[in-house]
Amino acid sequence: MSATLFLMAMAAFAAPVSGTARVHGSGDPVAGLTLRVDGADAGVVTDARGRFNLDLPEGEHELLFESIDYERVEVTLSVPVAEPVDVFLEPTTGYEVVVESFRETANTTRHVVDAEMALETPGTLEDSVRLVQSLPGVSVQREYSPGQADLSVRGSSPGENRYYLDGVEVPYLYHFNQYASVFPTNQIDTLELFPSTFSSAYGDAVGAIIDARSVQKRPDALHGGVGVSTVMVSGSVLAPLKEDGGWWVSASGRRSYADLASDATAQYPIWPIFGDFSARAGKGSEDRSVQLFAWGANDAYARAAGELDLLDPAEAQVAPSFEYHRGFQVAGVQVRRATEQGSREHVFAYVHDRLRGELTSNGSELLEESALTHRTRVARTLHDGLRLEGGGELRAGMTRLAVVDPGFDAALVSSEAPALARGVPVDASLGRVSGALHGEAHLYNQRLRFMPGVRLPVDSERLLLPEPRLAVRWRAGEQTALKLAGGWYQQLPRTEHLFERTDVLSATTSWQASAGVEQTVAGRLELNLDTYAKELSHPWVVPPDAPIFAVDKGHAWGVELVARYRLRETFFVWSWLAVARTFTQAEAGGELVPASGDQPISAGVVASWTLSHGWNIGFRWRYGSGLPYTPADGSIYDAGRDQWAPLYGAVNSERFPAYQKYDLHIERNIALRRWSLALYVEGWYVPKRSAQLYPTWNYDYREQGWVMGPTFLPLLGGRATF
């Protein structure tokens, strides 16, 4: 019997039955779902909004809802029914193997993090950027140590990396210097790390590139959620403004709440407050879209400038405090278009970044930058075997730096107010225009892909040379690929370092090369072996209490072995072992010494299982050789102030003990009809011999000790989404 005759027969003595099919846990409508009645061969199909309508004769009927993507549901109805029938379906468990290797990109070494991994990897506190710290090539830093916010990738110094969100450079990565990144995870779709030898699409960096993309998929229905963790609350909403096509909007925000619950202390007169927000409005499809966006972050606190415990009571009463405010706002528009032949993307944005630090004793710093930025990316396949990619970027900004009355106490706040600590009074503004044109050709056949490229940078500060790039990928077999990449890279100091200089500015340049093998086993298990080498000329050194200066050279090399396996939404594991060295000079003409990110051995394992009934268990282990630091070797006693100024020993001549950390994450997702609830508990364990956060010295710097972090810490959190 055909579907039409069946329905006509049913309609003869029928009562109307209507309803909606939805996904259990989110309430999303399920379109294209087949509904069969009483075992009939044919049935009706739900529409784009998950609705169905049919007429059934009085009496009992069996309705069967089925789809390959959902568990089948059988409903027994007694017709007539008084209300619409809402049916909720469970998605079937997928076994999609995700293979990251063999991507045809000139960024031959590439690590990808997506939201699923960020949410389910322990120790990351749902923070995408923290997950980057579990990737090979990224120095394993001590959790909550002062240096943790400074990503060192393949030995790079923190200032040598660049971070982007949707094509706009992010002024800073972390709240409160280290706790949580400024990217809310639920807004991030993917985050890519290019540790070195990146393509011509990126520049003004001799370190690494982190390029994050936000979620830009049009929602089918209203979604949102709230979350709470040990230190933050968050909320988000995502909704279509029209049901069929048209604009959609999203907004999210996070805020710390300890300041609401805690009283100010002598050490923290203003308890730390931080938050971030994101708002978007978009229209279109994957092929053609426009999006308006605004996002930003802010941090504020006041702390005692020194360690009050080390001061006598009268000193502690009058000890200066330091008030810190930092925040940035970005607003812009993104336009995308994609066809079978190619794609095009334009991003225009306005960026405002402001830092203000003030000591109550004397000294303040104001660093403020406003910039208009533009980035264009174009890709086009001319014919089979030739593809061109290119684009350009431009940044025009004005930076103002005002350092007033720097005094003796300024050295205490060098990490938060570096210009104040450098001690050079200044009140000036500096305009700067920079940008680049870049192009890349992909010449390929079934086996070989040859990708030469060039980047033509420009900067109002000085003339820059073209930067050649080359990447080659060769599919040696169905499951094996060899890759080579190299190039020449340039980077100028950031604008805020230019105010104190009167001499000619030089660029840091770097020759970089990498080679590797990608091997899959049975199409599932990925094994990657990467090697790299970098040679730097005139790298910049940013001391905490003196103007920036250049040394002659530095170099880095390493070998990284990675194993990876992933079943989407079910299981992922990766492990790595890296052997690497990074050297630089402490002063021009001096001997090479270990760089701050020099970590001879690092290793780790990350695994996550999504079990039945909504359970998820994750485990992470990381190990890293101790990072170097410069010891204090006595002091000079300033008899007029009765204070001691440290005399430092050989740069980076001492090392922290090796570091290990274990993280365990247990989460239960409870899917209700139109919303779901996730509750998690995490625990971290750091062996006591690894629990040093940073060295500290007694009053005259002749006795060194360690500030120890916690060895065990439980964390709780939860989120509700609809």
Binding site: F176, D312, P313, E315, A639, D642, A645, Y699, E703, P710
Partner: protein, 339 residues
């Protein structure tokens, strides 16, 4: 400095010493006094935890443009002046000192001299009755609470008791006084720029909770006080007080305590210097007799014959504090002391 909320859980290992306690080899203070054509420079030296030494400390003084120059200065660089109580000619932005102790330890000191001098004339000690270490709470130790303690002038403090110390200066306004003690017999808790509490014992507090109390042993306690003037001048002075009843035969010589045997009640006493490691000055006077210096016109004090001073006047135990005299050269010398 910790910037993370969660890292507030971190704890810090305690150090063996803090700046209040004078131990080992240390330059505890320095001063530069303007004179006719430059500066008279000297330093307060602590050697092996004493305000005296049996061996000389090598002191090399330099006129330098900034502190950074001192940091990179070679110890073999020719000094502009050497020795204790040296003279630097002419004007200078800063004074650098490289002190090398008897064991070869080196200390570097920086001082920016000021033409506006400050003089630390006296240190008053007032015993605070009714305050004992055994009964103190964290609330009692606040600056406001200790500021209200009422004392009686007395350089003797009962074991477990408390005293208020006050620096008395002349010349420039006192910006702040720094207080130090030899060893760790007690505990110094500053009140303000001129005063400090001193406990004849110690108390360890964590927040509102008292974790530990100790009582000081009877005996002499040496204090070193540094005065920092508003204009940048400095001065220093040693002072003694006694935990418990003071022993017999104590003589205050030029403000410093020295044991005298036998006890002599006179304004001027002559005797033979002997070593006494337990004494604050490292010295005691034996075969002591009263004498009238006016009746002995030729070096009545015996100090002209001392190789380290060669001046006429009462013997001053503080000559060991700035290193101009070493104890070994004074043993067996007959000198006179005056109140």
């Amino acid at each position: 400095m910790l910037l993370s909320i969660l890292s507030l859980l971190a704890c810090q290992s305690p150090f063996g010493t803090d700046r209040h306690h004078l131990e080992g080899f240390r330059v505890a203070a320095a001063r530069a006094v303007p004179d006719a054509d430059g500066w008279s420079v000297s330093a307060a030296l602590v050697v092996d935890g004493h305000l005296w030494s049996d061996q000389a400390v090598a002191l090399r003084w330099y006129a330098l443009p900034d502190r950074a120059a001192l940091a990179t200065l070679s110890v073999s660089a020719p000094a502009d002046a050497e020795g204790p109580v040296a003279h630097l000619s002419g004007a200078t932005v800063g004074v650098g000192l490289i002190a090398t102790g008897p064991a070869g330890d080196e200390r570097r000191v920086w001082l920016e001299p000021s033409t506006t001098a400050i003089a630390l004339r006296d240190v008053t000690v007032e015993r605070v009755d009714g305050v004992t270490v055994d009964a103190l709470t964290a609330e009692d130790l606040t600056v406001d609470a200790r500021s209200a303690w009422v004392g009686t002038p007395d350089t003797s403090v009962p074991a477990g008791g408390a005293a208020t110390l006050t620096a008395v200066t002349e010349g420039d306004t006192l910006r702040t006084a720094r207080w130090m003690e030899i060893g760790e017999p007690g505990e110094l808790l500053e009140i303000d720029g001129t005063r400090s509490s001193w406990l004849a014992g110690s108390i360890l507090v964590d927040g509102e909770e008292v974790l530990e109390r100790t009582i000081a042993a009877p005996g002499p306690v040496s204090l070193l006080v540094l005065a920092l003037g508003e204009a940048g001048g400095t001065d220093f002075r040693a002072e003694e007080l006694w935990v418990g009843p003071p022993s017999q035969g104590l003589f205050t010589a030029s403000g410093r305590w020295i044991g005298v045997e036998p006890a002599v009640d006179a304004d001027a006493v002559r005797g033979t210097l002997v070593a006494d490691d337990a004494a604050p000055t490292g010295l005691a006077l034996t075969d002591a007799v009263a004498f009238d210096p006016l009746l002995e016109p030729l070096d009545p004090w015996g100090t002209e014959a001392l190789p380290c001073v060669g001046v006429s006047g009462p013997f001053d135990p503080s000559w060991l504090l700035d290193g101009r005299c070493v104890r070994a050269d004074l043993i067996g010398r007959v000198v006179g002391v005056s109140r």
